[in-house]
Symmetry: C2
Subunit: 422 residues, 2 copies
């Protein structure tokens, strides 16, 4: 009657969502100030002034027919040109407007790239199926399962990757992390196969906050180049970069267009400009990518097929006027330091993150789900790491008010004592 697969996706709420709803309920019962909700990656720092100023300027001085009208599907040309110029200046690249496709945020960017790359080898009705008269179904099924496009990422990873990859009809694979949450390049090299279509990397990382080292990026790209040659087709790199500007202590974040030719950059202004609800971002298809222009057209086609008409015309103008600006990131750093220092002093074990706004803490007991359940008794809402591909860890989103972090410390202390004393 309707799609079971979509029903499953819609009804199986993510753990994050479940906890968030619980938090709201609990806030109603005991007051919002008494619930320590660390579940959501919703920026707590307001958008910089330029956002409000630009909106004011646009509604005051632009013809509303132009301001709110359709842009071309890949986005307003002057906006794309401004982003290209800014990127070239910042990262010493050489892209142009024709390498940029404006999107409704990072989830759209990723969905579109994945769809543009996936060659549906199975017999989807909308596609022409190559005749293979002599294969029986069991063989066909096996062939189709061994031949399907694969997207690889590194744990811990953003859980929706799996949804986007599988919705495109491709296979999702992840590589477990090393102890410090850096990339396990050896395991990665062993996992690659001729079916590997692309690799998704997310640095600064959600949920670990870790920035992948330049050395690991160089090694990764070396493997990709070698394997692409060996298999006779490119393996693409998809850089999911919503946290690019959220780095502390001047940590260097390699810009992947400069390390590997067959790279897509999926960017979103959700975190850097604190605009997550407005859904605005872009895809860069590297100018140096093999068949770059054709791949760009496949991106346009994928956007069209998924029902994206254009990114918000007003917010395209807003971000173009705010290039290079960010919310006051120093407040996140302050949060990180208070939380990291506080928790490690209490005996919690955690890699100190260089970016994003998450701590990924080792659960004091092997099952992080049980730990998170116990945490709820102290009004602490934490997300178990299982869906991120890392059982035994919990994510703490510190994009909250500083006061919440300070006030929550006694709860973290009482919780930890349960484990130290028994």
């Amino acid at each position: 009657m309707f799609s079971e697969q979509m029903y499953e996706l819609g009804s199986k709420r993510s753990v994050i969502r479940e906890l968030f709803e619980y938090g709201r309920k609990r806030a109603g019962e005991i007051g919002a100030d008494n619930v320590y909700d660390f579940t959501l990656g919703n920026p707590s720092i307001p958008a910089p002034e330029c956002v409000k100023d630009t909106i004011q300027y646009l509604i005051d001085s632009l013809d509303p027919v132009l301001l709110h009208g359709y842009t071309s599907a890949p986005g307003d040309l002057s906006v794309r040109k401004a982003i290209a110029d800014y990127t070239n200046e910042t990262h010493k690249t050489n892209i142009s407007a024709s390498n940029i496709y404006m999107t409704s945020g990072a989830a759209a960017s990723l969905s579109i790239c994945i769809r543009a790359l996936t060659e549906n080898k199975s017999c989807s009705p909308g596609l022409v199926c190559p005749p293979k008269q002599h294969l029986c179904h069991s063989e066909l099924r096996e062939e189709s399962l061994t031949n399907i496009d694969e997207f690889i990422t590194f744990a811990p990873f953003f859980p929706e990757y799996k949804v986007f990859v599988e919705s495109a009809g491709a296979k999702f694979t992840f590589i477990p992390p090393k102890e410090d949450f850096q990339i396990d390049t050896d395991n990665f090299a062993r996992t690659l196969s001729s079916n590997t279509k692309a690799v998704i990397i997310n640095s600064p990382n959600n949920p670990s906050g870790v920035v992948y080292s330049e050395q690991s990026i160089i090694t990764l790209c070396g493997i990709l180049k070698k394997k692409s040659e060996e298999y006779g087709h490119p393996i693409y790199l998809i850089a999911d970069e919503p946290y690019r500007e959220l780095v502390y202590n001047n940590t260097y974040v390699p810009y992947l267009l400069n390390y590997y030719d067959n790279t897509f950059v999926c960017y979103s202004y959700s975190k850097s400009l604190s605009l997550p609800g407005e859904r605005i971002g872009y895809i860069i298809v590297s100018d140096k990518m093999q068949d770059s222009e054709k791949v760009y057209l496949a991106v346009c086609g994928a956007g069209r097929s998924l029902g994206y008409v254009c990114a918000s015309s007003m917010y395209q103008q807003v971000i173009a006027k705010c290039l290079g600006q960010t919310s006051d990131i120093s407040l996140y750093k302050e949060n990180r330091d208070i939380l990291y220092n506080g928790l490690t002093e209490l005996g919690y074990n955690c890699v100190k993150p260089d970016g994003a706004f998450y701590l990924f803490v080792k659960s004091p007991e092997p099952d992080a789900n049980l730990f998170c359940e116990k945490a709820k008794n102290y009004e602490l809402l934490l997300v178990p790491g299982d869906d991120f591909g890392c059982p035994g860890y919990v994510r703490i989103a510190y994009c909250v008010k500083k006061e919440q972090i300070i006030k929550s410390m006694p709860a973290f202390e009482t919780l930890m004592k349960k484990y130290i004393w028994f």
Copy 2:
């Protein structure tokens, strides 16, 4: 290497797009005022004042963290409640917030509904494939082709329907129109089969401007009820309604939730509030639909799988404050009257439309593409009807400045003389 299907979609620009680009080039050569561009359905009447006023109010008085933050995936609860109340009051329905899912416009609404309904019976890798060990490939292929979900619509139709349906892996079918562009219910009844998943109707219609009569809607719904019973499963109705408010002379537009239980309403504020670039609309899943709550969850799942996180948080608030308002529609009516009267006086043949902002004119020669090519010699940019499923017709979008219509009349006259005199 990448998806051929997506490349095709991205590189095969629509005829509308080609003509639009040609118009821009031509405007550069001879001045915009001398090109009579009737290609795009981009509203020419500014958004009503309430849009600007609400944006002003929101940036002045709302905490930016709240204003620009994520809403829940189906949309802000108070916004959905306001839409439900307004709909109930206007159309005497009985829906609630939990029947409404906010979207990034009508294209998103349609893509999501189609994806939510399509049961992928082929062996897409992300899906569990039922074992059919004994079928050989040719049989399997045939079975899969005869068993796939089908979406039916009525010509003339918006060309992207085909893209959305085929991208979901389903089959797209259309019924040719009657002479007056009303629904051919007899042909429709003959075309329905047990594979028919849903019927898409668009009234007021793009490109004909015709409003389907209440009688044809009653007949259509009667057929759907009878056939649903016969096949033992619901055939859904998808009402694509971006032009609902754009009607003239108080023409009655039946509200389909009141005529058929298994109805989705796909709405967009693009045309009524002149906000096409901001991408804001919604889906209503009828409260009377069989398994309504489950289907709603499938809609949520489909939105998630396509990479939609939430509709623009600011524009959700904007439309909630502007419910019941529209741009000044009387200006479109004025355009329609000048254009319709002018063209019919010149000998053009056209059904007088009751809604939307298009005239669908019979081409004076059988091949509308040739006619549109000749029209370009007089700087008239018109869209051939072939992609709308109606060869031999052209679409004229009259959402332009009145002056353009008046100034273009001599060109239409000279063009027509080519046909009368030879």
